[in-house]
Symmetry: C2
Subunit: 343 residues, 2 copies
Amino acid sequence: MGGDFGASVTVPAALGFANRYPDCELLLVGQQETVESALSQCKADPSLLERVEVVHASEVVLMDDPVEVALRRKKDSSMRVAAELVKAGRAQACVSAGNTGAWMAITRYVLKTLEGIDRPAIATAMPNQKGGTTTVLDLGANVDCTAEHLLQFAIMGTALAQVNKPDSQPSVGLLNIGEEVIKGNDTVKLAAEYLRASHLNFYGNVEGNDIFRGTVDVVVCDGFVGNVVLKAVEGLARMLGSMIHEEFHRSPLTKLAGLFARPVLNRFKKRVDNRQYNGAALLGLRGVVFKSHGSADVYAFGCALDRAYDAVSTGLLDRIASTISELTRLPAGSGADSLDPQK
Amino acid sequence: MGGDFGASVTVPAALGFANRYPDCELLLVGQQETVESALSQCKADPSLLERVEVVHASEVVLMDDPVEVALRRKKDSSMRVAAELVKAGRAQACVSAGNTGAWMAITRYVLKTLEGIDRPAIATAMPNQKGGTTTVLDLGANVDCTAEHLLQFAIMGTALAQVNKPDSQPSVGLLNIGEEVIKGNDTVKLAAEYLRASHLNFYGNVEGNDIFRGTVDVVVCDGFVGNVVLKAVEGLARMLGSMIHEEFHRSPLTKLAGLFARPVLNRFKKRVDNRQYNGAALLGLRGVVFKSHGSADVYAFGCALDRAYDAVSTGLLDRIASTISELTRLPAGSGADSLDPQK
């Protein structure tokens, strides 16, 4: 039901996904009438529809609903019902394009966090100059983070990066500031100590530009910084895109040049098309939960679904849990023992 | 002496600047021999050289010198001597392309901060979609900021934005996170209260993308966030630039397309050329101090010099001082009274 376009995007994207993955079954959660009407417009193959079930949820969390309203007053929302399906083991993952804050609060409330994880985090992959992606977290779930939280983010980010690089030990960088007056605050300095003491593949401090350089596989930061960076780079990309468009549409001559350059520009556009990176993971929950950009179209929402599938099929949750348990077995005094819930 | 290229960039850039501004006199501070050799290579008009004086400084702060070394052991560095010239009133502004941390520490030590300013901040202008620029601060001088500091940054940023828009009341946005779970931390929330109580043109909270949208004239944040954002957008811009280049150099056909598109691409490049935005202000000091990017070429370093000239000619320091004094005259309890050094 969520996102800017609701079922008119999520339903066809889900059918496309089911078509790509014949081993999958779909639970489409939302207002029955709306979902079924969107389904009927898709003219899907009947054999495909055998793997699709509509699960009715009478309420919808709106994009501007406060978290409290979504959590306490809309107990039969599609978000809530979807999360319950995961909790009950009927679904192995859930994906929404709706209100991020509500989605985080509801999935956290229903699913709870994994043992050893204090706070869930939002993570996404950003393209880098090496042709791969850099996993960045947290992107806005936690504005005030302790060093322990940053360590937990590193664990979860490592597990997420392994979805695409299964047998690797992804490198982790701690987002910090560079040559300027003071290098980092106390939290970041302490987090670096914890990370060095852990068995993660800790690279050290990285700076903002390292996200796009691909210096490391995983970049860890608090949710305030991560959110601001994510939005700033989205803003810059949009500005540059519209400037290129403007320049090629300035006169008949530049339009002609644009015609010659179109195949090249299209290739470029395809490479930087952020729809392919759609699908942020809500990490640290006892279930696989993804969040699609609200403005996602059918292709983009499908990418978020693919991401959730890959997370399930590569055992994301087990990997997080086993890394956490390895950490808690570290000798006392290594810093990592503060993960112990007794302390 | 500073930056990646030293006097071979700064000296010709300074002569070009003196040529543009016939009312200016130049003090070139550095090792006499090096500066004079660079000067002689410029083949400048003798009448121009009448306005140029070389001020000898025996030492040079290196790019990787720790702040303590620069400050305590190199007491005859070009940075130190330049700052002293400003303090003595012999220079009205100083510009360096050297080590940022050292430059900040030395100018702060020599010049001291303006009354009512606890901490200097680094500010720069970034291009926005409206065709103007957005002034962003702090970019890395202060990693841990209180709400009072953010208010002071807003005052200084407003004064800096007025250099280009003299009779305006620039709008100020407080960088915050958006729809996600928790909107901002306590510092940001308190800073918003202070800003609302001030007579600044406070717009409210803005997000990372608003920097490039041009939603406000001034964006205020702590130095950790600002530094990370600055470097992240630099990194993204570099990646996109190299991707466009790659696509147009993929084959003879794409190179041909690039030939047709070159005038358009050059226009685009010129618009987004970040050399024109070179020159960050070190605000809050009792003197006009600018910092050029270390990698600046002659054109870019010239832009930083122009920026310093504009700051002096439009009375930047007086504007900051008068805004601060207006604030301290606000009724007690407005939040802004915490600027009072007695409290």
